[in-house]
């Protein structure tokens, strides 16, 4: 089973940096890491590949400055190879432009299944997996909390408001996975060493046949009109528990007529 996993490389969420005052987009000139949300898709892909007993896991990523740090992490987990799209024309690309690039890059790999996180931890638009599916003309199942491959189809438990739906979807297909769907493995030392020599296909948009006016600022069709600090919430009373803090909480709940 050949699987493509979309992997985003993002600034460390513990230190997300700031907006570029000129472009109002997130600065990405620091070292980027694999979005933790994507580690679930990578792990899922490895498990499905291994269960099938054949096939390859290919990572697809779009990142500035030919960043490979996050891809190396996923290769160290056990993915077989990676396609990285890096191009100056991609600065300012929005979710739809990103989907166009990813869809074109996925076209370079033979995939039975395309996995992605439900949303990235930085931009969190949550639309890219579905946009990729539509661009590729494929069916999709989003918000998967469990995936099983079964011949030429996948059986997916899809999160719903009420619980979950069991969905059957013929392959090839796009599936987005929620965090916690599987427990991502830690790369072994051997995996980390092996990752350094795994194939990394670095391409620009011309290689993918993507036109510059479909991506970047020009391809966005939207503009930021204002960036301003949100009203701050003031801290209230802080107490240190001396064994009676629960009494203060109960008193507040009484005051608020909750109890």
């Amino acid at each position: 089973m050949d699987i493509v996993v979309c992997v985003k490389q993002i600034p460390d969420p513990a230190d997300p940096g700031e907006l570029d005052p000129e472009t109002n987009t997130l600065k990405r000139d620091m070292k980027l890491i694999m979005d933790e949300s994507d580690s679930y898709g990578v792990e899922m892909a490895l498990q499905l590949r291994d269960a099938a007993g054949e096939g390859e896991v290919t990572l697809v990523s779009m990142a500035p400055h030919e960043e490979v740090n996050g891809l190396r992490s996923a290769l160290a987990m056990g993915a077989d190879k990676a396609i990285l799209v890096s191009d100056e024309a991609l600065a300012g690309t929005d979710a739809l432009g990103t989907a166009r690039v990813l869809a074109a890059a996925i076209g370079r790999a033979q995939a039975d299944l395309i996995l992605a996180a439900t949303e990235s931890s930085d931009g969190y638009t949550g639309t890219v997996p579905e946009q990729v599916a539509e661009l590729l003309g494929l069916p999709s199942v989003t918000f998967a909390k469990e995936i099983q491959a079964d011949g030429g189809e996948v059986r997916v438990k899809r999160q719903t408001e009420a619980g979950y739906d069991e969905v059957r979807c013929p392959l090839p297909a796009v599936v987005s996975v929620t965090a916690g769907v599987v427990e991502p493995r830690y790369p072994s030392f051997k995996g980390i060493m092996a990752a350094k020599s795994k194939p990394m296909d670095q391409v620009g948009i011309a290689d993918l046949g993507v036109s510059p006016d479909q991506v970047g600022w020009a391809g966005g069709g939207q503009e930021i009109t204002d960036v301003s600090p949100a009203p701050e919430r003031e801290a209230g009373e802080i107490i240190t528990d001396e064994g009676d803090a629960h009494e203060r909480i109960v008193a507040l709940l009484e005051e608020l007529r909750i109890v």
């Binding site: 969420p13 997300p16 907006l19 109002n24 929005d94 979710a95 739809l96 439900t118 931890s121 969190y124 638009t125 949550g126 890219v128 579905e130 946009q131 539509e134 003309g137 069916p139 999709s140 989003t142 909390k145 999160q159 408001e161 009420a162 619980g163 979950y164 739906d165 069991e166 969905v167 013929p170 297909a173 929620t178 965090a179 916690g180 427990e183 939207q222 503009e223 009109t225 204002d226 960036v227 301003s228 949100a230 919430r233 003031e234 801290a235 209230g236 009373e237 802080i238 107490i239 240190t240 528990d241 064994g243 803090a245 629960h246 009494e247 203060r248 909480i249 507040l252 909750i258 109890v259």
Partner: protein
Amino acid sequence: MGTIWVYAEASGGQVASISLELLARARELADTVEAVVGGDGEPIAAELGAHGATTVHATGDLGDGLAGPAVASAIAAAIEGGAAPDAVLFGTTYDGRDVAGRLSVKLGVPVITNIVELDQADGSLVGTEPVFGGTVNVSTRFNGSGVGLFLVRPKSFAAEESGGGPASVSALPVPDLGATGTARVVDRFAEESTGPKLDEAGVVVSGGRGLGEAEKYSMIEDLAKLLGGAAGASRAIVDAGWVPYSHQVGQTGKVVKPDVYVACGISGATQHMVGMKGSKNIIAINKDAEAPILGIADLGVVGDVHKVIPKLIEALQARS
């Protein structure tokens, strides 16, 4: 603004609260508000009308197909056939995101996402999105031609009846979907839930890493139950597999705005704060006096959740 379409979701003959919230805001912004439904329009035409929709464009029963490709194709075909909404609003829900994503590709226009405010300026709609844990607001508008697509977060607006009569139902045919329509729902499972839904509860009690182990989450559920509320969770313990994703409060989970939010053993990562800082009152219990959550709490308790919560539960039980 001329016409706004609202993607309306419903289950069991009842319109979802997010859809009613969108109708209320759309009414303030547009002359005409119409609803789009993936399913039968008749059972909900009265409720949608009472909230300001004059017409319901309904696909009819989708059977075992998913809403995403079906509704997106139907809307795109209607627009190609001459319908001209200025904007389509979607709730940030499982199906809302699917429909908006697919439609964006079909129409070749972007989606402005995670909107918590929607206003009109110079004849176009401007959506505002919180970033960096809700400390910065970014406003965005479309500068191209075509329909504006907005994904709006739940609880951004208050639902309000307009006193309108039932909406008229109009057929919204679904074109042949080809391969995109081949996913089939073979079974639907409702997870047993007692008490209110997470994003509608008046009280939300959430647990985080500070609980130490998965088994301790039962304290959170017990406390939530005693307060007539819902149990939530930080992303950290959802990622760790302690509780399902449906409990997650935060940027990548549910946005909640209860009367009282009780954060137990949650440090307050930006990821979490953006999902709960709109709560009316916040109580936080954390052993680390430097935890960011204490900086936004109305009542912050520096203490061990394993000591404070059992005593709190005991005190509340003694009262009932």
